[in-house]
């Protein structure tokens, strides 16, 4: 239990934080005049450049909980945490850019459930839309509570103050400016995170005397295994995380990351707002390039904390009076190096991360509710203005439901674990359904629906089995040495396989779709514009190769 706040803000710091709130509201008010049609409000006019779409695509994922949590994981597990930024993201983002984006973009869909409706029919859309809408607004509430808790621990702010001030700000700027406002603020957040957090690794490496010295210090304080990305993964028992390279490559790299980066509507929505196909393809590649650099401001501070912090951090459940948990490592490093102004900027970066995470969830919820549930099932032929108004009110409702969830989580903290688990149930099967739909003409509507449902049931069942009997993990992960994180990887792999097998079997037993029904939706039936006359440096595949090569080099350097 924390008894004292971690940092104390000076007057300059408070001005920096207050200026951020004023700026995001100003952006929301300014953009209201450009959010009066549904295309503008829900899809930002579909005119974002590759850079804006790409940076907001990355920022939508780069929340403060993630920043603090992964810095904490780096302190706890060492450089292995970087896998979630490299193999756990880069191949999937490049795959989205080159393979899936053409189908998402050319189909002119507004959302992932929207694609499912075009490809598989209404039942698949409804299943995915309802689960997504429900999950995303719960996640928003969980993030809101987590933010308020962090602000209480780090700054000593009252929890209610944090919840209401941030919620009202988010509700205002998203209800006014729609998705464009959420995207602009995500790009702003991206710059603030780098401006606020980059000093920690720079000063930390100066203090430790460079990377080589840092490795020596870590070996003394923890273990030499903490600075190797792959060499300890030959067995579950030779690395701090208790995982195996097959889980990292197939579970994380091939399934979980593919499922998240290619079908999570929040991130995909940002790329769908691009102004043309080439921008839509380049945007995730730009995101991938910057994602590769994020370990510098997230993983490295965790490792530096392991080397230089005088106190030993522990798991949240083991914190004693005056002690600190792993998740405190980033604020502790901020407090170590950052004076007035700099500290305020670092805290602003965290707040910006939380708030744009909330805004992202709320804007995604608003789009899916209005287009995929309200317009599809409840009121089909209203005017464009009606849907925009529904969008603005749904934004406010979404924020209120999130606040309700935040207070619920305050009472029953374990809800957070359940919500995280719920989210993971859907992504691996959804990836199976979408990728089969895009690449195999023979997939039918019933095949898509039953595959998605069975894959999801498989996820839920495996999770419940391990919850009731933790020793069951040895069967799910196929090894008695597997630890907790291995569960996610193997659960995702099994549910993906079940989804694919069921989809294929049911499709083969049901009537195929006609060619006419598949135009623009599947490989072989979609005319993808040729890039013949474009110079090499303007082709998405050129930049994807560059990013891919750098990704491989990084994995070799930190082997």
């Amino acid at each position: 239990m924390h008894t004292t706040q971690l940092v104390h803000l000076s007057t300059v710091d408070v001005i920096v934080v207050a200026f951020y709130f004023a700026l995001v509201l100003a952006i929301g008010f300014y953009l209201k005049s450009r959010a009066n049609t549904s295309e503008d409000f829900f899809m930002a006019g579909r005119e974002m450049t590759a850079w804006v779409a790409g940076l907001s695509f990355l920022s939508a994922n780069l929340g403060a909980l993630e920043l603090m949590g992964w810095a904490g994981s780096a302190y706890q597990y060492g450089i292995l945490a970087a896998h979630w930024y490299w193999i756990g993201a880069i191949p999937a983002m490049l795959f989205l850019a080159l393979v899936m984006m053409p189908f998402y973009y050319i189909s002119k869909t507004h959302s992932v459930p929207g694609y499912l409706k075009l490809r598989f029919g209404e039942p698949s859309r409804v299943l995915s839309a309802v689960s997504f809408a429900f999950m995303t607004v719960l996640m928003s509430g969980v993030n809101m509570f987590a933010m308020a808790k962090v602000m209480q621990i780090v700054l000593g702010w009252d929890i209610n103050f944090s919840i209401w001030v941030s919620s009202i700000t988010v509700a205002l700027y998203v209800a006014l400016g729609g998705l464009r406002s959420a995207i602009f603020n995500e790009v702003l957040q991206f710059f603030l995170i780098w401006a606020g957090a980059m000093l920690i690794p720079i000063l930390g490496l100066i203090e430790t005397g460079g990377w080589s010295n840092l490795k020596i210090l870590i070996a003394q304080r923890a273990s030499a295994e903490y600075v190797h990305l792959w060499s300890g993964l030959g067995s579950f028992s030779t690395n701090p995380m208790g995982i195996h390279w097959t889980g990292i490559v197939f579970g994380l790299g091939a399934i979980i990351s593919m499922g998240y980066w290619t079908t999570d509507f929040l991130v995909v929505q940002r790329v769908l707002t691009a102004k043309d196909l080439r921008s839509a393809e380049i945007a995730p590649i730009i995101g991938a390039g910057f994602k590769m650099m994020v370990p510098f401001i997230v993983i490295l501070p965790g490792l530096l904390g392991l080397a230089v912090l005088p106190m030993k951090l522990t798991a949240e459940s083991a914190v004693t009076a005056g002690g600190h948990s792993y998740n405190d490592v980033l604020p502790l490093m901020l407090a170590r190096y950052c004076g007035p102004g700099l500290l305020g900027l670092g805290i602003t970066a965290l707040i910006a991360g939380f708030m744009s995470g909330m805004a992202g969830n709320v804007s995604a919820f608003t789009t899916v509710w209005t287009y995929d549930i309200y317009r599809a099932l409840i009121k089909k032929n209203a005017t464009d203005q009606h849907y925009v108004t529904m969008g603005r009110w749904t934004t406010v409702m979404g924020v209120l439901i999130s606040i309700g969830t935040a207070y619920l989580v305050m009472q029953f903290a374990s809800i957070m674990d359940y919500v995280q688990a719920l989210f993971s149930f859907f992504i691996a099967p959804l990836f199976g359904t979408v990728i089969l739909g895009m690449l195999w003409k023979r997939t039918t509507g019933p095949g898509g629906f039953w595959g998605l449902l069975c894959g999801t049931v498989c996820s839920v069942s495996l999770w419940t089995w391990v919850k009731i009997d933790p020793t069951a993990l040895r069967y799910v992960a196929l090894s008695p040495d597997a630890k907790g994180l291995a569960q996610d990887m193997y659960q995702a792999t099994w549910s993906f396989l079940v989804c694919v097998v069921v989809t294929v079997l049911v499709s083969l037993m049901t009537k195929p779709k006609t060619d006419r029904e598949l135009v623009g939706l599947v490989y072989g039936m979609t005319e993808i514009p040729a890039v013949g006359t474009l110079p090499l440096y303007k082709r998405p595949v050129f930049w994807a190769v560059i990013v891919g090569v750098i990704f491989v080099i990084l994995n070799i350097i930190f082997w």
């Binding site: 000076s10 300059v12 001005i15 920096v16 200026f19 951020y20 700026l23 952006i27 300014y30 450009r34 006019g45 005119e47 450049t49 804006v52 602009f184 790009v187 702003l188 710059f191 603030l192 401006a195 000093l199 000063l203 100066i206 203090e207 230089v308 170590r336 190096y337 950052c338 004076g339 007035p340 102004g341 700099l342 305020g344 900027l345 602003t348």
Partner: protein, 71 residues
């Protein structure tokens, strides 16, 4: 960005410029009035040079993406 109006890059320029000036100012003040208990690496005066860098980048963005010159 598209028609006349304020682009996101101009807003980012404003953010970096204002924050940069605040941090630079606070850094110079601390240099002239060092606190009794100092942070690690205080002698590097990170606020001064980091604030200056942010302000400079912000100023460049504001000039390049100023609404009057946006097409």
């Amino acid at each position: 960005m598209h028609e006349s109006g304020i682009s996101i890059w101009f807003f980012i320029g404003i953010s970096l410029l204002v924050n940069g000036v605040l941090i630079f100012g606070a850094g110079v003040w601390e240099w002239m009035h060092p606190p009794a208990s100092q942070l690690v690496l205080f002698q590097l005066h990170a606020g001064v040079w980091w604030g200056a860098i942010l302000a400079l980048i912000g100023l460049l963005y504001c000039i390049k993406f100023a609404p009057a010159s946006a097409r």
